[in-house]
């Protein structure tokens, strides 16, 4: 019914538009309730239970204030094309949720500095990786608000790793290279010993950054100079090449975000870099792998750096073209306030960006972050969603220590965003790992492209640095 009614309304509008064109100016009736509306675009959460909580919660929030809230969901891969279309159209939703970086859209969104200040006054500071993904120090603009981030631990096959004498799984990147041939020997049915994607997709994009950082390399330095062209990057590429040779197959070059989950759950690989969503799926489907899944924190590189990118994180923006900006800001505050519910609704997939927002009620602001961290640790150490043993996810309690943002050691600026979205780094790693190019040539190619992208954004005035580009 809803559909048809809408349809007639829009049809009427089409006719009206035609009439305007034909008959010249005429009275256009504006939707009188426009002020009381809020349209939100969200991804389809990887843990579907979250959507079942979010949609009614948002509606109810609106109902209390006389605001008609609409939530639309798109696949995570369609978040950016939809944003592009809406900016081009200068209309659409009021709030748009990005996964990862929203920075490429900075010039089209409003400053959310006041929202962050309100929230920090209420809950204490947000986590650093969230700040660095939503704030541009060069323009001093808070272009997005993050309510959650997701840790990216390693999932390992407990039995296979026990069989090769490493029952606790890997702890360094070098462990993977050492373990791979053993896995092939002891567990030949495992098709891809190490299942780290090197393809054009979001999980791979995170994974190659982890390898790069732990070997001491990075795309930019903390001030936004392009420093990709470094011996450290070369070392990371050499490492990827070694790992690929002993532990991976071309399958990882074709993987999409679902592939590593599927391969792991089918016991075709013994290690993946993923959030807990593969595990939750295995639990839901009662797959035998659920019990055999173990988790390890980010791996250590030869430099001693132990760092993983957030797996995904939210970046809510409010469009400049939105006519309901105040309601949108209020909504974002309320969303962060509800972080506890959100974390539980997502089955511990979401971690709050404001730890203080999950603190026990009545905690003074100064101690909220601490109290929130304790609550998170309690959930992880005693998983309310049926883990066996119950403390399987305990390591996530400390996930913040080894997690960082895209753009590390700098900020997640729009150039980093574009490099991410056009797969410049995964491209480089895949070419070097497979031998399609020498690590040196692959690096040179990626570096050229990275500098082009940075230069373009510098010219537009959104990215600093440049004096120390390599």
């Amino acid at each position: 019914m809803e559909t048809r009614r809408q349809f007639i309304v829009k049809g009427g509008r089409l006719v009206a538009a035609a009439a305007v064109t034909v008959a010249g100016p005429t009275i256009v009736v504006r939707d009188a309730r426009a002020a009381g509306q809020l349209k939100i675009l969200q991804w389809s959460h990887f843990v579907p239970a979250y959507d079942k909580w979010f949609d009614p919660w948002a509606k109810e929030w609106g109902a209390k204030r006389g605001i008609d809230v609409t939530v639309d969901h798109v696949s995570f891969a369609d978040v950016v094309p939809r944003a592009t279309a809406e900016v081009a159209a200068q209309s659409g939703h009021d709030i748009h949720m990005f996964l990862g970086l929203a920075s490429a859209f900075e010039e089209h969104v409003i400053d959310l500095g006041d929202v962050v200040r309100t929230l920090e006054k209420k809950h204490g500071p947000q986590v650093e990786l969230a700040r660095r993904s939503t704030y541009n120090p060069f323009t001093k603009k808070q272009f997005a608000l993050s309510d959650m981030w997701v840790p990216d631990p390693g999932n390992y096959h407990k039995k296979v790793w026990a069989d090769i004498g490493m029952p606790n799984g890997p702890s360094t990147w070098e462990d993977l290279v050492k373990a791979a041939p053993e896995i092939k020997k002891k567990a030949p049915q495992v098709q891809i010993p190490i299942g780290i994607g090197l393809s054009q997709d979001i999980d791979s994009n995170m994974a190659v950054r982890n390898i790069l950082w732990c070997h001491g390399g990075s795309i930019q330095d903390k001030d936004g100079n392009v420093v990709l062209n470094s011996p450290e990057t070369l070392r990371a590429l050499e490492y990827a090449k070694r790992l690929y040779a002993v532990g991976m197959t071309p399958a990882v070059l074709s993987w999409n975000a679902a592939s590593n989950n599927q391969a792991f759950n089918a016991q075709e690989t013994a290690y993946i870099l993923n959030s807990i969503s593969a595990y939750r799926t295995a639990q839901d489907n009662k797959l035998p792998i659920a019990e055999l899944t173990g988790f390890v924190p980010a791996l250590k590189g030869p430099t001693g750096i132990q760092m993983a990118s957030e797996h995904v994180m939210s970046g809510y923006v409010v469009w400049k073209f939105s006519k309901n900006q105040d309601a949108a800001k209020e909504f974002l505050v309320a969303l962060v306030d509800a972080s506890r519910e959100a974390m539980l609704a997502s089955k511990l997939y979401n971690f709050p960006s404001f730890y203080g927002a999950v603190a026990d009620p009545g905690t003074p602001v100064a101690r909220k972050v601490e109290s929130g961290a304790a609550w998170i640790a309690k959930q992880c150490k005693n998983d309310p969603f049926g883990s066996v043993p119950a403390d399987k996810l305990a390591l996530l309690a400390d996930a913040l220590k080894w997690s960082t943002n895209l753009g590390y050691p700098g900020y997640g600026n729009p150039a980093e965003g574009e490099i991410f979205d056009t797969y410049v780094l995964t491209d480089m790693f895949a070419k070097a790992a497979t031998g399609a190019m020498s690590p040196k040539d692959a690096l040179a190619e990626a570096n050229t492209r990275a500098r082009q992208i940075f230069d373009k954004w510098r010219k537009k005035g959104f990215v600093g640095g440049g004096s120390k580009d390599r």
């Binding site: 809803e2 559909t3 809408q6 349809f7 829009k10 049809g11 509008r13 089409l14 538009a17 675009l41 991804w43 389809s44 959460h45 990887f46 579907p48 609409t70 639309d72 969901h73 798109v74 696949s75 995570f76 369609d78 094309p81 939809r82 592009t84 279309a85 809406e86 081009a88 159209a89 200068q90 209309s91 659409g92 939703h93 049915q189 098709q191 999980d203 975000a257 679902a258 590593n260 989950n261 599927q262 391969a263 759950n265 089918a266 016991q267 075709e268 993923n274 969503s277 593969a278 799926t281 489907n285 009662k286 797959l287």
Partner: protein, 284 residues
């Protein structure tokens, strides 16, 4: 003397048909079996030679169909797709039939050049038009409305269909209208009474052609429609059933199969007329 080669030819013929049919149908067979398999039967690596994926190793299940019809708006998406298809076909006919006739009969030499121009617009890649269209759709106030697709889709049906219909009208003998006009009909009357009834095969060609293109399209639909209940099948199904790192393969495959079969039946039904229409339309 002549029998053995004939038998060989007949066998070859059968094999050829068989091979093609297998190629065409295999994905559908695969969708069908996937749609009814239990997940634990589905997610078994292909290295396991013991596990034959072509048959049910565990009892078939209706779970995936239940998910598709119970937890998604699949029937609504089907309805939307069909509605858009019908409307786009109608618009295409309203624009292309008169234009095709005009180019064939009423415009002379400049019409011929213009017809090439019309055809050339068909060459503009949709990737280029994407951004301008977003703006246009918003200006008219059609964002997130099925009407935006109804407005945009004819951009890829009208040029080619006009061109096809022009050829079709050219193939009709001029006497058709002339005799009617001698009998006192106006040109418009002659077109209505004589030409259009003779053009049914050509029009049918255009209908099927346009309908196919509409059902295939997904990029505009992906970006202009954001409410789940207004999506088309091409977009709604993946949005609801691909959840980032979880693909609901069983339900996805069921959706694809259920959408394709009725359309194929309709096509098959009109195929002979379509062939007739295309022969004349394209060649003359």
């Amino acid at each position: 003397m002549r029998r053995p080669p004939r038998i060989a030819a007949a066998v070859g013929h059968r094999l050829l048909i068989l091979a093609y049919t297998a190629f065409a149908v295999f994905p559908f067979y695969w969708m069908a079996i996937t749609a009814f398999k239990q997940n634990s039967d589905l997610y078994v690596g292909a290295t396991n030679v013991e596990h034959n994926p072509f048959v049910f190793n565990q009892a078939p299940t209706l779970d995936h169909l239940r998910t598709l019809f119970g937890q998604t708006l699949y029937p609504t998406w089907l309805f939307n797709t069909l509605l858009i298809g019908v409307l786009v076909v109608a618009i295409t006919l309203l624009l292309a039939v008169p234009a095709g006739y005009s180019l064939a009969r009423l415009t002379g030499r400049w019409g011929e050049r213009l017809s090439i121009g019309v055809f050339l617009t068909y060459l503009v890649p949709s990737t280029l038009l994407f951004i301008p269209f977003s703006r246009l759709v918003a200006i008219i106030g059609l964002q997130n409305s099925i009407w935006s697709l109804v407005l945009i889709y004819p951009t890829f049906t009208v040029p080619f269909c006009t061109w096809l219909l022009m050829g079709f009208f050219k193939s009709l003998p001029r006497e058709v209208e002339e005799s009617a006009m001698v009998d006192g009909c106006s040109r418009a009357g002659a077109i209505w009474r004589m030409v259009l009834p003779l053009s049914i095969p050509g029009i049918l060609t255009v209908v099927i052609f346009a309908l196919t293109l509409v059902i295939q399209e997904f990029v505009y639909s992906l970006t202009f429609i954001s409410s789940v209940q207004r999506m088309t099948v091409s977009v709604g199904v993946p949005v609801a059933l691909v959840r980032g790192d979880v693909y609901y393969w069983g339900s996805l495959m069921a959706a694809c199969l259920i959408t394709s079969v009725p359309i194929a039946i309709v096509y098959n039904f009109f195929l002979d007329r379509f062939i007739a229409g295309f022969t004349v339309g394209a060649v003359k």
